[in-house]
């Protein structure tokens, strides 16, 4: 799964948590969940759970703390997917 595919999947996951339609439409690596998508910080844990389910990975507390924007989130997902593939 390449970065574009991960971002596409992320877009579907975060969509219900944001009412910023224009920011959602233009989601890219630089999009910040809280500043751009105005997602309630309490919902970030729900997004992580949705990501775990969608990609069949487990996200540790340290990684979770970094997942505040699309770039960091995509990198972490990619790394976890790679680690799993290498097992």
């Amino acid at each position: 799964m390449n970065k574009e595919q991960i971002i596409d999947a992320l877009k579907t996951i975060v969509q219900p948590y944001s009412e910023e339609t224009s920011a959602l439409a233009h989601i890219d690596e630089n999009t910040d969940f809280i500043n751009d998508l105005k997602i309630n910080s309490a919902n970030l844990v729900d997004i992580i759970l949705d990501i775990e389910e969608k990609f069949n990975i487990e996200i540790d507390n340290d990684s979770m703390a970094k997942m505040l924007n699309v770039k960091a989130t995509t990198d972490i997902i990619a790394a976890k997917l790679e680690a799993r593939a290498g097992q």
Partner: protein, 424 residues
């Protein structure tokens, strides 16, 4: 100077009606909302009948965002939000995306417990070592104040936002707390009300205490029998009732429809002394509460046209009537009309008082007295206390001026509210 407090909006989510129009029609015609509950039967409950509001998914989705609906598993919050928002709209108030909180409006919306099904789900997850799977929706649905928090967010309330809890007196108490807030000038509008979850995990404890009837599983609509000789325990219910209380000045200024006035009331406790216990009322306290409510409202016992009783359909109904009789000190033939909504909807626990107050306000504003159902075999003991004509079994259409509503709860606590028809 104290503000006069009037009622300008009503909302209800009851077992026999989930809109004001449906509910009003049901109570006039003695329509029962008690149904057989397959889940209670499957779980070996003694009492397998209950009252539960019937709501379609489509209706619920009008009040919650898709995101809120995703993990929503708190029936009490659903009922409370529906009744609360409906009352707000009924008062002619808008639900808009106001950027600024409405500093003069608040809510006291009571509950006995919140999101008990959600709590069960969370507890099972924790015990299965899956705590990280709880997500963000557990706390907001299981905190006791979940219902007032949800309502306040939807309405943008900026005054006091709180949940009161006093067992079966919760609903009546919420109205008196909201009334005080407006009377003393601390708020202009308060949404008062209460809610109660549905289902086996909220009703189970009562079933185990053997306070619910087990004799009518085959005839649900006959099961809840307040004031009947064959009353054999209450039928559990659920739902929510909501009333918009407002200062008379504010209601007049915006030319709002005025349903009635809150004249006053009283809240007290029997202290679990004398005959009072955790679960039984101290009659001295009940009588004091009623007398103090009349005094607070500035009316005489003889002015009461209708009493909306607590009357749950246990053996304590006769004691309640004796307490009213003793407190009012009226000759038997002048005893007011008395009715109990529980014959139609069961005992909606924390929501009982607020749903019953909505019924009471409809009676006052439209001029009717709803019929008592399932007491065709009136209790012999009650018949020795008050005349049969005080317990109407068919709808009476007549103007009424003053109505007294009382609710009593576990913990030996009492609340009595006095409502008056509003005349300009």
């Amino acid at each position: 100077m104290d503000n006069r407090v009037v009622i300008t909006g009503l909302g209800v989510c009851a077992p026999n009606g989930t809109t004001l129009a449906e509910f009003s029609e049901a109570i006039k015609n003695g329509i029962s909302g008690i149904r057989h509950q397959p889940d209670l039967e499957a779980l070996n409950f003694s009492c397998q009948i209950a009252g539960k509001p019937e709501l379609s998914e489509e209706r619920v989705s009008q009040y919650f965002t898709p995101l809120e609906l995703r993990n929503l598993n708190s029936s009490g919050i659903v009922y409370g939000v529906i009744a609360g928002l409906d009352a707000w709209k009924d008062a002619g108030l808008t639900i808009e995306n106001n950027d600024e909180p409405d500093w003069n409006s608040g809510t006291i919306f009571g509950a006995g417990t919140s999101g008990i099904d959600k709590f069960r789900w969370a507890i099972n997850k924790i015990d299965d070592l899956e705590i990280r799977k709880l997500g963000s929706s557990v706390v907001i649905q299981t905190m006791a104040s979940g219902v007032s928090a949800f309502i306040s967010g939807k309405l943008g309330l900026g005054n006091q936002v709180s949940t009161n809890s006093s067992a079966c007196a919760t609903g009546a108490e919420s109205i008196l707390l909201a009334y005080e807030r407006i009377k003393t000038g601390q708020a202009t509008k308060m949404l008062a009300g209460s809610t109660s979850d549905s289902g086996p995990y909220i009703w189970g404890g009562f079933d185990a205490m053997k306070v619910c009837t087990f004799k009518h599983n085959h005839e649900p609509e006959k099961g809840s029998r307040p004031m009947s000789e064959t009353a054999s325990g209450f039928v559990p219910g659920s739902g929510a009732g909501a009333l918009v209380l407002e200062s008379l000045e504010s209601a007049l200024a915006r030319e709002a429809k005025i349903y009635g006035e809150v004249l006053g009331g009283n809240i007290n406790s029997g202290g679990q002394r004398g005959l009072g216990t955790m679960t039984a009322p101290n009659p001295v306290a009940v009588q004091r509460c009623i007398k103090a409510a009349l005094q607070n409202a500035g009316i005489k016992a003889s002015e009461i046209d209708v009493i909306n009783g607590h009357l749950t359909a246990t053996t304590k109904d006769a004691l309640e009537i004796a307490n009213w009789k003793e407190a009012l000190q009226l000759p038997a033939e002048r005893f007011p009309y008395i009715n109990s909504l529980k014959g139609m909807i069961g005992h909606c626990i924390a929501a009982s008082g607020s749903i019953e107050c909505v019924a009471s306000i409809l009676e006052l504003s439209e001029g009717f007295i709803f019929p008592n159902i399932n007491c065709e075999d009136l209790s012999v003991e009650i018949k020795t206390l008050i005349p049969e004509k005080s317990i109407p079994q068919t709808l009476i259409q007549q103007p009424i001026n003053i109505l007294a509503k009382a609710s009593f709860g576990f913990g030996d606590i009492n609340a009595c509210v006095i409502f008056k028809k509003y005349t300009s």
